[in-house]
Assembly symmetry: C2
DNA sequence: ATTATTTTGCAACATAGTTGCAAGGTGTTA
DNA sequence: TAACACCTTGCAACTATGTTGCAAAATAAT
């Protein structure tokens, strides 16, 4: 299924390279989110660390993946919906991090509520991250 | 006003040391939040980096400060309200980070809304971080 | 096929955070 | 207040994370 990756890269106006195809494939295979370290592990010595950093950066810029802030100071990345394009993301959904299994979920159908801010504060971006136990880990 | 710091440390069952008094004083003086690097700057060479790390950890554990996740992958810390104790924080307010001046605010009077999660997901903690421009930076 | 443009790997560097251990400081008890 | 036990600190060494410049390789355009 290499066609899918190639298509997506073309759609976002990126040249087709091995690193990009492979890293994009990881995201298409993974239900949850991935951290830089995950990709480094999965790909072994196939690519340089720096290439992975730069690829992730590029994917974020082009609207292929979005970042998920976490309270433990480690950025995770997940696939965007198809509407995201260069310089303009539409990922206004809630994220969930399971404390047991560590999986990060995009809750695409749970949207971030508007919050009323004090006078003079203007919101540009709102991140809502919930942590707890997921539906696979519940007792 | 060294009494204030000493009192707070005693209240949270910590022994009184120079590093703890000084670092706590920084928080009491600062309206917004502080990062590890801020404290390192403010204190110059007075304390070792490691001491600052350990002091912040201890303060978080004892309920003196709480962490604020940010989208740029850097943890910031802010004073807790008096109700927080060892192993049990009550900081369920919204945080605001100004993209212009970089200040991080605890919006103590804006509480985090409950979000409805899919079946099987149990929330333990919810972090809501808004970024944009603050009331001092608005044009 | 040739050329122009992008991407990659490497090396070097910078920042952030952790751990073990000996020395020094704090609190407790007599 | 002196002796002791316990906790905290500084130092060194280490790991992890992320960035930059540059030459070589790969890709895209002609
Ligand atoms: Mn998401
Ligand atoms: Mn706060
Ligand atoms: Zn789970
Ligand atoms: Zn501001």
């Amino acid at each position: 299924m290499e066609i899918k990756e190639t298509d997506k890269l073309k759609k976002h106006q990126l040249s087709i390279t091995d690193a990009r195809k492979k890293i994009l494939a990881f995201f298409l295979q993974t239900p949850g989110a991935l951290a830089h370290a995950d990709i480094e592990h999965k790909s072994g010595t196939e690519f340089d660390r720096v290439t992975i950093y730069r690829t992730l950066q590029t994917f974020v810029e082009k609207g292929i993946i979005h970042t998920i802030p976490t309270s433990d100071n480690s950025i995770r990345y997940a696939l965007c919906k198809d509407e995201c394009v260069t310089g303009h993301h539409h990922d206004d959904h809630v994220h969930f991090i399971c404390d047991d299994c560590g999986t990060t979920y995009c809750l695409d159908h749970v949207s971030v509520p508007k919050v009323k801010l004090p006078k003079g504060f203007k919101a540009v971006q709102t991140d809502l991250v919930v942590s707890g136990s997921c539906n696979k880990c519940e007792q």
